[in-house]
């Protein structure tokens, strides 16, 4: 268990405990989503983020509501890290009228524009041009905001990746492109699907900084992201940050995950990002095991309540199918 980087030294206790709680909220949310999907409570598809928490939290803990993120089909972690209402997210997964999108979006389209969360996305690479647009707004209106664009290793082979990086580079847009390389695009390993040994190398084609970071280490992510976010805010343009990470679950729930070994999963679990942060907090005397256990219990209770509330909530009325297509028609 390790936690590295100068950020580990600089961050204060409240910030670190906040990050710990956020990461735990994501893990608990996803574990419960997995169970409740298996129990038949969630229609459709779900793609779980467990294992990757250090990336979303290491980055989003440095953003405000003025900053905009774009996300992916594996978006629950980004939503929680950006402050989207958790009970509203749970209800959304279940398709209930109390969902954050009134049950019209579901797992793959959770969004909260007020929170600067421009949507999970069902299209691999679909969010990359969108992040450029959010950054163009920030630049044009002078809001001081940045856009953070999350996408996976698979998306780095889409045309939108290359178009987006080029556009952000020539317009000097305040964007941080965050490639969450979890080793697999669906069932295909990155060493097969990607010509580059590090996806960050692709930044050189656009003459922007490309940085590889250990995505299991929240401090390393925090530090690399801080530099990229500062650079964007200063008006110095985009960065491509590649976080090497791992997903504990399959591509989607129901995936038998035959493309990777149990040993590989176990090896990554030995480096669990939440356990690593917990260890660092205790080692540095910033929190006791009992204090952290109390946070664990609070998060579990919070998520239990959210699931119970969502189960009890009504489904939307059928005539809701017709609303929210247009602002006016």
């Amino acid at each position: 268990m390790s936690a590295t980087g100068t950020a580990a030294i600089e961050l204060d206790r409240d910030t670190l405990l906040g990050m710990y709680e956020r990461m735990l909220q994501i893990r608990t949310f996803e574990d419960m989503a997995g169970k409740n999907f298996a129990a038949g409570l969630i229609p459709g598809f779900v793609h779980l983020y467990a294992g990757e928490e250090a990336v979303a939290v290491g980055i989003c803990s440095q953003l405000t509501d003025t900053d905009v993120i774009t996300s992916t089909h594996r978006g629950h972690g980004h939503c929680i890290a950006k402050g989207v209402d958790i009970p509203g997210m749970v209800a959304e997964l279940m398709g209930k009228s109390t969902g954050i999108c009134k049950g019209k979006g579901g797992s793959m389209h959770i969004a909260d524009v007020e929170k600067g969360m421009l949507g999970a996305n069902g299209i691999v690479g679909g969010g990359i041009p969108l992040a450029c647009g959010a950054a163009l707004t920030a630049k044009t209106l002078g809001t001081g905001g940045v856009a953070v664009c999350f996408f996976g290793d698979g998306a780095s082979n889409q045309g939108t990746f290359h178009e987006g990086l080029n556009l952000a580079a020539i317009w000097n847009l305040p964007v941080v492109f965050v490639c969450e390389n979890n080793g697999y695009a669906e069932a295909t390993p990155v060493h097969y699907h990607c010509s580059a040994s590090d996806i960050a190398n692709r930044a050189s084609a656009y003459e922007i900084p490309g940085v590889v970071v250990d995505g299991l280490d929240v401090f390393a992510v925090y530090e690399a992201a801080r530099e990229a976010i500062d650079r964007a805010r200063r008006g110095d343009g985009p960065t491509l940050l590649e976080a090497k990470t791992y997903r504990y679950y399959g591509h989607f729930q129901g995936d038998q995950v035959t493309y990777r070994t149990a040993e590989e999963l176990e090896r990554f679990k030995q480096r669990d990002p939440i356990q690593a942060l917990r260890g660092a907090l205790i080692d540095r005397g910033l929190a006791t095991a009992e204090e952290l256990d109390a946070i664990d219990a609070r998060v579990t209770r919070q998520l239990d309540e959210a699931w119970n509330a969502a189960r009890a909530a009504p489904f939307p009325e059928p005539d809701e199918v017709l609303t929210d297509v247009y602002v006016s028609y």
Binding site: D112, L118, T140
Partner: protein, 341 residues
């Protein structure tokens, strides 16, 4: 009270340019994005001056007034800049993007129909996407198969998108102003053959509401619904028909989504006959959609089968005689009317 609005002659292209200028003056969040909409970006002697002002000169002169921060030349990167326009709209700007030819929609359709057009619905009504995408349509200049299609039917099919098809300079100005001020995704289809068309255009900044058809010629004997440039063809046909004693009523829907069903149905209820003229390909098209709507809601008022005069189910050919055969002509419209009149 009759309000007299001063008008003057200008071309369809100038009318579009004027609407853009008015919209940009009234709202500082209106920005233009597109390939060479100014041209000459970062060329030393063209700091606030355009090289082209758009490939057809439609946006000529705007960069001089509004500068390069509001008239953004993009790389040839349709997914990139159309997607950027879509998200810029969702986050506080009111962009007008130019997709040079509608035939290029294949390069950026995900950003239009999967992202922008679905934001509001997917997000439970908590987002708006006030983007306008201007694009050229139409055969007639031997631009061949990849630069001559209409394809507005594709977009009309998709919920979350409004489709505007102006047929005159005055409509182009008024409808574009409404499109830009509208809070939804609007596709604005400019027929390239009409760019040089002259007509009376009102001064001022009044928009023409989306979803209101216009009766371009009144008549009692047959209703002709004509889209975009086909209005011109239908007006020519009406002259011939009038000499034969047939008075055609020509309805220009002006927007295909929303569609002014009421005006079309009221006209058919009066004439009992309907011909639809559409330059788009005929299958699953605006023409078949309007025909189905009238068959469904106005069947009792019809005295004859609905006739469709459309392009054939082919790509647009290059060679001038082939292209001429492709585009619905006034003669074909007259023939279709004679069949049912």
């Amino acid at each position: 009270m009759v309000v007299e609005t001063a008008t003057r002659q200008m071309t369809y292209q100038q009318a579009i340019n004027e609407a853009l200028r008015i919209a940009m003056r009234e709202d500082p969040t209106v920005v233009l994005l597109g390939e060479d909409i100014a041209g000459g970006a970062e060329v030393d002697h063209l700091i606030n001056e355009d090289a082209w002002g758009g490939p057809m000169g439609v946006t000529k002169g705007l960069v001089q007034e509004f500068g390069r921060n509001r008239v953004l030349d993009t790389p040839i990167t349709e997914s990139g800049f159309i997607g950027a326009a879509v998200a810029a709209a969702a986050t506080g700007l009111r962009p007008v993007a130019e997709l040079m030819f509608v035939d290029f929609f294949g390069c950026c359709m995900d950003q239009i129909f999967n992202q922008g057009a679905k934001f509001r619905y997917m997000f439970g009504g908590k987002a708006a996407c006030p983007v306008t995408i201007r694009t050229q349509i139409g055969a007639g200049v031997s631009a061949a198969a990849q630069h001559s299609g209409c394809h507005y039917s594709v977009f009309t099919h998709m919920p979350g998108i409004k489709c505007v098809v102006p047929s005159t300079p005055a409509d182009a100005k008024g409808l574009l102003l409404s499109a830009i001020r509208d809070d939804d995704v609007v596709m604005f289809f400019e027929n390239k053959v009409l760019y040089g068309m002259k007509g009376e255009v009102p001064e001022g900044d009044e928009g023409i509401p989306l979803g209101k058809a216009d009766i371009k010629h009144a008549g009692d004997d047959v209703t002709i619904v004509a889209i975009s440039r086909m209005v011109t063809q239908a007006l020519k046909a009406a002259e011939t028909l009038a000499s034969e004693g047939i008075e055609a009523e020509i309805i220009d829907p002006r927007t295909l989504s929303p569609l002014d069903e009421e005006t079309i149905l009221a006209s058919v209820a009066k004439t009992h006959r309907l011909v639809i003229v559409d330059e788009d390909n005929p299958r699953c098209s605006a023409a078949t959609d309007i025909a189905a709507m009238v068959a469904d809601k106005g069947f009792d008022t019809l005295d004859a089968p609905i006739k469709l005069v459309t392009a054939p189910h082919t790509p647009v050919p290059f060679s001038p005689p082939l292209e001429q055969a492709y585009v619905p002509s006034p003669e074909r419209i007259v023939e279709a009317v004679r069949e049912i009149a």
